[in-house]
């Protein structure tokens, strides 16, 4: 049976840093996989997947977090996912007569 996408929490814990929660998240896209294995044992590839988190609240990330590796955790609302990821970018968009919107982008990384 379909699961209503509600009551979702999204957190990002960069290695060596404390866990921060994304606030007012309105869109999550988790894409695992995408490239053929490049290691002999089939466990590693350059394209392991991507994650995008879009929110109205401040993304709680900064330029200092760029290219840091950590753990992304989503829970609730049918989105029970925890992946190791590297933060690769963040977008901020402002439109006249609208609210500011933030998007943070990650590449899935091996453990």
């Amino acid at each position: 049976m379909a699961t209503p996408c509600a009551g979702v929490t999204a957190t990002w814990a960069a290695s060596g840093g404390s866990s921060v929660a994304f606030s007012e998240v309105f869109d999550v896209k988790v894409n695992l996989g995408g490239g053929l294995p490049a290691a002999r044992d089939g466990t590693w590839t350059l394209e392991m997947g991507t994650v995008e988190v879009s929110c109205f609240g401040t993304a709680n990330t900064s330029q200092a977090d760029l290219f840091k590796k950590g753990t992304l955790t989503f829970s609730g609302g049918g989105l029970n996912v925890a992946v190791r990821a590297i933060m690769v970018g963040a977008n901020t968009a402002g439109t006249v007569n609208d609210v500011a919107r933030y998007t943070v982008r990650f590449n899935v990384a091996p453990d």
Partner: protein
């Protein structure tokens, strides 16, 4: 002869003292202050919560009264855009509207073997 309340016949419309042979009259009153809301619902809301909204940061145009009348009429009466006058609508002798108005647009149609028709749109000033 009795008239039915939903019958548009017997309606007279005039602008700046000139009567129109109207075929169709459309009167629209909209509240310009009605909030155009932004949906700021997020995934953190739980099932059963209400949709979260907030008003737009900017208000509507100061010159928008939200009241408009469109008239489709017979004849080659060319009403200039931006012309002003009093728009009066009377139905079976009962005045429904008498308000200062500005013509926003006029379109005249000249078709072979057909009557000349025109359509004008008026912005009505708030009383």
């Amino acid at each position: 002869m009795s008239t039915t309340p939903h019958d548009g016949s017997g309606t007279v419309i005039s602008f700046a003292g000139t009567n129109f042979t109207a075929r169709t009259i459309s009167v629209a009153f909209n509240n310009p202050a009605a909030e155009d809301l932004i949906d700021v619902s997020h995934l953190g809301l739980t099932a059963g919560n209400s949709v979260l909204t907030m008003g737009r940061p900017l208000t509507g145009s100061a010159t928008d009264t939200g009241q408009e009348v469109t008239v489709e009429y017979l004849g080659k009466n060319l009403i200039a855009d931006q012309s002003t006058g009093t728009l009066v609508i009377t139905h079976n002798g009962v005045q429904l509207l008498s308000r200062a108005a500005t013509c926003n647009s006029t379109t005249l149609n000249f078709n072979t073997n057909e009557a000349i028709t025109g359509t004008s749109t008026f912005k009505i000033a708030r009383s």
